[in-house]
Amino acid sequence: MAEDLVSVLADLKENEAFKIVEDRLSAGEEPLKILDDARRAVEIVGKRFADSEYFIPDLVYSGEILKGITDMVKPKLAKAAEVKRLGKVVMGTVAGDIHDIGKDIVVFMLDVNGFEVYDLGVDVPAQKFIEKIKESGAPIVGLSGFLTLAYDSMKQTIEAMKDSGLRDKVKVMIGGGQITKEVMKYTGADAYGKDAMVGVSLAKKWTGAG
């Protein structure tokens, strides 16, 4: 039955997935195990996306199904899930930019791939990134931005890391609609990604998990 849930969710069959979860819950199965299967399924979704078999709507929809499953399972959870994490990542859309869709997909994919993500939201001032990096000790920072005006916010955020003596302690990746290698050089980031799974690969590489 575990494989059933993994495969139907990976195939994005929402109703079938919900039915299996319902059955497993009423059979008294450990809720954490169900959640772990669901997470594994979405990891497969991410792989299919990286292989160009799936596209953004598939990622978004898998997130919706996962949310539905989590809502079903949550009331039955005795304690908060203790999941072994690969590493910490601070993420946010930089100052002046409020676009969140791309950033949210990256956060979602990092999360299901085992990272602990601190999502600072949108229009995040440099200082907030600095505070979160210090507080969490995260070695990876993801800066998102859709507007070309975000180039300068990214550059300023990375400069603020330098000024706070944090730049050598973190790896910085950037992403967004108009982000290229030229922009990476301009902002002083370590890497850039054209889609969410590139972000996951970078994070895995930097934590030695890839």
Partner: protein, 445 residues
């Protein structure tokens, strides 16, 4: 005797619209030389689009977002509220860079109009965005997943009583407005109208009248700009705009997440809603082309980009309805000037399915060599000057890229040089390099 409009073929209609645009009525040209310049530029664009005659050179267009404001040392906030400053900044931009056309002073929009109505659909300078940044959409479900039926039954009533109250805080009382399509006998009619007497509804209408006055004031400036620019030698590259049905629903009604889940959960309703929208948006494009005596109608494409839909989803949910819009415009002799934002590499073979010489496709991210190969005998290709080069590159890099574009896409005509996306804070010297180099290198001998 001249042929009646209804009797003309779409070819003839297009030609008639172009001729009107080539010799605009009521325009006072600055000088006979400028009049000649206008005609040369308009002809150049027309030839590049129609694929019948080789233009004298590759046309070059600049389609800015708030760059003209930054270039004049103004913030987006200032030009949103000071309409005269906006006009002056946009005029200075076109006069200084001398591209082959203008795209109106439309980006700033009337700030006070949005304030009066408590506009919630976007954050804009002074309202959730700092004065130095541009407006940005607040993604959301302004039409909920279970509201397709209400929308399909009567889209206009749905907009008035459901969408408007959500996107304009001031118009929230419109939720109470009756559906006037049920006005019938004298008996009962009085009952229908009582909501118009409610104090909060009346206050909303008063605000709406005030907002209307502000829009009228702004359109006066906007209209003056539209009238002045041809007189200074710049044909208008945009007679109005329309959109792809999938984007109409996805951008500001269902939202990105909403529409993507509708693809799986309620595909039939999504398709019905797109069908319902299509005639409204064809009519809008044609009406604006008529009103502005301009064949070029702008179509910014968003959610059909590479990756945002699978090939199959694109062919099911995006292209058929976009194609209906395009053909609806083409039938009336209107020229869709399509701006494919994001990636288009996977879409080229699909969009090829169009009549020849009727559309222009401005590309953001695409392999332009393939784009020209696949579309070259059907449509004018345009754009692709990358935003990163214009923003952080050097004039030399811009020229090198422009040379590649002209070499690869300019051959035999059918290419227009343009920026790949709306631009804000790019380097002026890079914009200048793009325009000047095209004028020098893009001449057909």
């Amino acid at each position: 005797m001249e042929k009646k409009w209804e009797e003309m073929s779409s070819d003839e209609k297009q030609e008639a619209r172009f001729q009107k645009w080539l010799s605009p009525e009521g325009v006072e040209f600055f000088s006979p030389e400028v009049k000649q310049l206008y005609k040369e530029r308009a002809t150049r664009i027309k030839d590049a689009i129609q694929l019948k005659k080789l233009p004298d050179r590759v046309p070059v267009l600049l389609i800015p977002s708030f760059f003209p404001a930054f270039y004049s040392g103004l913030t987006p906030l200032e030009v949103m509220y000071d309409y005269e400053k906006a006009n002056n900044a946009w005029k200075k931009f076109y006069m200084d860079f001398q591209p082959d056309g203008h795209f109106g002073c439309v980006a700033p929009g009337p700030g006070r109009f949005f304030d009066i109505l408590d506009y919630k659909l976007y954050k804009y300078p002074g309202h959730g965005v700092v004065p130095e940044h541009t407006y940005q959409c607040n993604e959301g479900e302004y039409m909920k997943a279970d509201e397709y039926d209400a929308f399909l039954q009567d889209p206009t009533h749905f907009f008035i009583t459901t969408v408007l109250p959500r996107i304009f805080g001031t118009l929230e009382p419109f939720k109470q407005l009756p559906n006037l399509t049920t006005i019938n006998e004298m008996y009962g009619t009085g009952i229908t109208f009582f909501p118009y007497g409610l104090p909060d509804v009346q206050a909303a209408f008063k605000a709406l009248l005030e907002a209307g006055s502000e829009a009228l004031k702004w359109i006066g400036y906007f209209g003056a700009f539209e009238k002045e620019m041809p007189g200074l030698g710049f044909p208008s590259g945009q007679g109005g705009y329309t959109k792809a049905p999938y984007d109409i629903l996805g951008d500001t009604l269902r939202g990105t997440r909403g529409i993507m889940t509708d693809i799986y959960r309620q595909p039939d309703k999504l398709i019905k809603a797109m069908d319902k929208m299509t005639p409204f948006w064809i009519q809008k494009g044609v009406a604006e082309a008529n009103m502005n005596a301009n064949p070029l109608i702008f179509l910014p494409l968003h959610k059909g980009a590479d990756g945002f839909l699978s090939d199959e989803q694109y062919k099911t949910f995006y292209w058929p309805y976009l194609k209906k819009i395009l053909l609806g415009l083409i039938d009336e002799g209107v020229v869709p000037f399509v701006w494919a934002e994001g990636g288009s590499n996977k879409r080229l073979e699909v969009i090829r399915d169009l009549p020849k010489g009727k559309t222009a496709w401005l590309f953001d991210e695409v392999d332009m060599i393939r784009a020209k190969e696949i579309l070259g005998d059907v449509a004018c290709v345009a754009g692709n000057m990358p935003m990163d080069l214009l923003t952080v590159g050097t004039p030399e890099q811009v020229k090198d890229y422009a040379k590649k574009l002209i070499d690869n896409c300019g051959k035999g005509g059918g290419y227009i040089m343009a920026n790949c996306a709306f631009f804000d804070n790019v380097k002026p010297e890079n914009v200048r390099a793009m325009v000047d180099f095209t004028k020098e290198y893009g001449i057909y001998k």
